[in-house]
Subunit: 424 residues, 2 copies
């Protein structure tokens, strides 16, 4: 059986740190194929990606990824837990991935597995500690972290970093899907994801985005491979980017049309976030000001930005809970090279969920899967309603994303239907 490495990426944009991680992962896993599941047009920090998913797919293929699958939007813009359920879900359900590799500050996979088990099979001791921390007013992720600290007393120092926290979620998701994929870690070097300082080759994606926003795109040449530079340049010159979060300001007008109860129905609106959104939208005419008004100890900036997108995309609570239980309902192909084409054939045979290569045919893909299930030809694990719901959110995300393009004449909808799969 072929060894297939699965990576969870955003590549927003692809930089030397990503290249290093990719090479190290390949060295570690020594795979026959490399599959990446990548966020689409919106990312986990609750922001639109700096360039669209097809441009980022081209860059990924040019740097050694064989096949790029889209992480459905409704997972891409959830917190670490939902993000992991979506991305690991895609890799697991493909039926071919044997290994995943992710960055970790501790570099200690056994420790991450231990914590993941603790969280999945919650001990009473942990539950009690968690409640206590929430009561202190900490955000959900922080309360969980501090509760773990209480329980793991002697190993707490390993729990302070974002990659380890995400890594724990990956392992939890593997347990959730009862997956046979082997998790591996590599020690993270280079920039912290959130380090805003530009440090040449060691710059984080957010530092690179910040420099681009300041109008100094040329400067990023030191931080990104030539392929990234050339494709970003092309995107920026035609006016399909750079896309920044601030261009979402129109959501405030939308929010003014909503009542408090409308927010309450949306995923992630709990702990009083609904009231804060409702009131802050009435008091702000500027997106950054809005976020500052909503901000509280228990609401991180990322969570607020994600919550904005949850409203924009009408992500109802019940739907998301069901999505997180059942996982992604399709494998959306964004691009592949010749090796990717081979492994896609393998996926077609082994995957639990249907492949969507041509977006406009998504309803036919579902109908065919339903037919095969009915006739006993195959056992697709799909929920038809969720399949449509998830995919139509991807389409909506693209249609709203193009509206943010700097070049107004390119802002038409329908990217998913017009843009063929990227082939290298």
């Amino acid at each position: 059986m072929a060894k297939v490495l699965g990576l969870v990426v955003e590549y927003n944009p692809f930089h030397y740190g990503h290249l290093h991680h990719l090479r190290e992962s390949i060295r570690l896993a020594n795979p026959d194929y490399v599959i990446a599941v990548m966020s689409g047009n919106f990312c986990q920090r609750g922001e639109p990606a700096i360039v669209n998913k097809f441009a980022r797919t081209r860059i990924a293929l040019m740097n050694g990824i064989d096949l790029v699958l889209e992480l459905p939007t409704i997972y891409a813009i959830q917190d670490a837990g939902g993000f992991a359920l979506g991305s690991i879900g895609v890799l697991h359900k493909s039926g071919v991935v044997t290994d995943i590799v992710f960055g970790s500050e501790s570099g200690d996979i056994d420790f991450l597995k231990k914590v993941a088990s603790l969280l999945i099979y919650q001990t009473p001791e942990f539950q009690q500690a968690f409640k206590t921390q929430l009561k202190k007013g900490y955000s959900y992720p922080n309360a969980r972290k501090f509760a773990l600290m209480d329980v793991l007393s002697d190993e707490v120092s390993k729990l302070s970093k974002s990659n380890d926290i995400l890594g724990i979620e990956y392992v939890k998701s593997l347990l959730h899907y009862n997956s046979s994929i082997t998790p591996n870690v590599i020690r993270r070097i280079g920039a912290d994801d959130n380090d805003p300082e530009f440090k040449g080759k060691l710059s984080s994606a957010s530092a690179i985005r910040r420099v681009i926003k300041l109008g100094d795109f040329e400067m990023t040449k030191d931080a990104i491979p030539d392929s990234t530079y050339e494709i970003l340049k092309e995107e920026f010159q035609t006016g399909r980017g750079p896309v920044f979060w601030e261009s979402l300001e129109f959501v405030l007008a939308l929010f003014r049309k909503l009542k408090r109860e409308d927010f309450e129905k949306i995923y992630s609106f709990n702990e009083g976030l609904d009231l804060r959104f409702y009131e802050s939208a009435r008091s702000s005419g500027d997106l950054q000001q809005f976020v500052e008004l909503v901000k509280a100890k228990r609401f991180t900036y990322s969570r607020i930005r994600r919550a904005i997108l949850h409203v924009l995309f009408d992500m109802e609570k019940e739907k998301i809970e069901k999505c997180n239980e059942l996982g992604p309902q399709y494998l959306r192909v964004l691009g592949f090279n010749s090796k990717g084409r081979e492994i896609l054939k393998e996926i077609k045979k082994k995957s639990e969920i249907p492949i969507i290569s041509t977006a406009s045919l998504y309803k036919q893909v579902l109908e065919e899967a339903e037919k095969q299930n009915k006739e006993g030809k195959r056992e697709w694990k799909i929920d038809s309603e969720l399949f449509i719901w998830q995919f139509e959110k991807d389409i909506l995300a693209s249609d709203l994303y193009t509206f943010l393009y700097p070049n107004k004449s390119l802002r038409n909808a329908g990217m998913d239907f017009e843009q063929p799969v990227m082939m290298l």
Copy 2:
């Protein structure tokens, strides 16, 4: 009984042509009081007003209006027929207005009455002519005009101007409400409402707005009284204006979230306008481009702009039809002088619908009216559901209007609750 003159105005902004019309109307009717029913924050051309309704109320009071009542938004942004049903409805239901005066190119009230009767009590001959013209592809108002031309053959020349057409709607509305108000006309002089050319004292409101948009506010000094100039200046300096239609561009993002069926439920979406909106929103990233794509022989620019607002304000078909049947459900006081205060007392005794002076008390006003009806103390002609629906649209209109302010720090919602009635 006091003679009370009612005027239907937008004053967007108040200029010398309006002043002339006001003085001529007073000379003609010789009233004890002058009441104006005025569009609020959005006007009949489907645009936000250049400054908000309270600023325009102040100007009106400074120029001789005794009492300004708001034309509920859902009428202000309808075509001539709905606009007239709302504005004449407010004046009629106040219970005190004895005369209305409006501009007319023909200056022939008997002719307007004749046409209004013809339209209200449609003859088979007229119905047939109307159908024939619609089939030719003309817009609704044009088909009606041409049908009338066919029927009125020898008097057609009197039917070519917008004020006469609106005047006919006023008379039709008087017939609709079975009102005893006397309609009077004065011959219009000066600029055509739609004349875009700046002509000093004879400039139209749209010409004045255009000059302001071009950044040449000082130039408008020749076209507007000092009071208008000073108040506009104050509004512009603080950043509450000028507000232009283009700032509504965000509606395109909203439209991308809608399906064709969603448009179909909205008032004025017939003759295929729903499909044109749906498709054009997917193809445009610019509001003007959107309008050009929607434009067709049967869809005038004004109609398209109004339809944009109908979607923005969720003006469902059934609701509007009921509103047009029953008329306005409240008298919203925007401002008054000492004489206005006197006539308000009279209105309190005689009106068919309750007065809202303090916006935040609108629910209490309704409850009190319901109570009085129940106890037989008074016979308010109100539909409770429509009362709430109409008024909440006014509040929404204000909350979205302030979002268009140039000064972001003043874009908070709640204008209606924070701004007391204007008193001169």
